[in-house]
Point group: C2
Chain length 246, copies 2
């Protein structure tokens, strides 16, 4: 991808081009796929939904799209009306599923990111399997992927990234991350242009402190240089860390 194009192109075009590149290079979607988009109400998954709807026109295969939102028992800020309107205008059907994430905590246990994401993932998989979806699309971008890679390395001592494609052994199902080639700032610019940045919600628990700490240290390492971050992503691709079996 021409870097001059990426720097100068309008935000919507950048997202389209880089999402298409990730989908084609990573073989994320194929003819006839039924793709369930996990929409949180946040900017990332909203931009993902928009991009997948737009790319239906240009990608050389057909696929179905539907969005699933999981409502929790601790976050009520999400402007679901706005989200539904956006998804409808992009031609994407929407389902809202209520899950008592805090309610399912065992007694004495505190709410945490790991618990919440495991509950959400379980529900996503269950819903996808019941309705015949074979792909679940998540809105993680390049900065999320790099962050997780460094956190795994520095906190766990393991060499593992958040894969662009994860094939479940137990289910006929893949997790895909079509925004893997996009930096957060490019996703933000696109969300802003689409007019959805202001209505996007964020988790009331905030970013956990380990992740916040990793984020600032990685910024010091890369100097926030796009070129450096892209080379780190290339190294993860070259080391085959972005295609995984679960």
């Amino acid at each position: 991808m021409n870097h001059r194009f990426i720097r100068r192109a309008p935000p919507l075009k950048v997202v389209q081009k880089l999402a298409a590149k990730a989908i084609l290079e990573g073989k994320l979607i194929s003819e006839g796929d039924r793709v369930l988009i996990a929409v949180s109400g946040g900017k990332d998954s909203s931009v993902l939904a928009w991009a997948l709807s737009i790319l239906k026109r240009s990608l050389p295969f057909n696929y179905d799209l539907e969005a699933l939102h999981i409502s929790s028992d601790f976050c009520f800020c999400c402007q679901k009306g706005e989200l539904m309107n956006s998804l409808e205008s992009w031609g994407i059907g929407f389902t809202d599923l209520s899950v008592p994430i805090i309610g399912r905590l065992k007694e004495g246990r505190k709410m945490n990111c790991y618990w919440c994401s495991t509950q959400r993932r379980t529900e996503l998989i269950r819903y996808a399997m019941e309705r015949g979806f074979n792909k679940i699309a998540l809105g993680h971008h390049l900065d999320d992927i790099i962050e997780t890679f460094f956190m795994n390395m520095m906190n766990q001592g393991s060499l593992a990234a958040m894969p662009m494609v994860l094939k479940y052994r137990k289910y006929p199902l893949h997790l895909i991350r079509p925004l893997a080639y996009l930096e957060e700032q490019q996703v933000i610019a696109c969300a802003d242009e689409l007019g959805i940045l202001k209505t996007a919600c964020t988790c009331p628990y905030g970013v956990n402190s380990l992740r916040r700490d990793a984020r600032s240290k990685i910024a010091a390492l890369t100097g926030n240089s796009s070129a450096v971050k892209r080379r780190i992503l290339s190294s993860l691709l070259a080391g085959d860390l972005l295609h995984e079996l679960d």
Copy 2:
């Protein structure tokens, strides 16, 4: 390895323990090996030579040791007399080989780290093959390994570390790095204790700027925490990046 031991043990013991651990875990040396130590005159390879000589007494196999120093046409600071005395006192035979590193530069080419290390490596391999050595031991430590890993990732986009063991395809020869588990500060403390820190020479060209830059950025990333650096090394081991074929 008990971390409390590592923090409190005397410097010589720390080097012995961690070098032995690397040699045993990484299968760096086996019965009957003929090991050629590349000694630059610097602290790292001097400590390596000392450690390998001491470990002959305790490791459960026999091996031969010899040291090769490559004298260049640009560095005359190395106090070879001191180095020879040290090696002799440790029972290690020493050879000095003169290589016109600048003299071999093609016209118009400037001296650089890559050229110098390639020339040295070529001469090391040639010498080892001619004299029947099957292992070449280099003095790189944990900080060197981490630094090179990050430089490969951030500057080249490749996921590759400096291996603890590298097996040459073309020759019956391995490169080994028995100080892989040691941090630079542990090597320095040992060199100081051995009384060789002051006589150790450093390259007159200094550390190259890319490496210096990487070093300070990695320090910002890890906060110079031993625990974090050791977890990064563990991740490279877990990802099988420290055993390689050339």
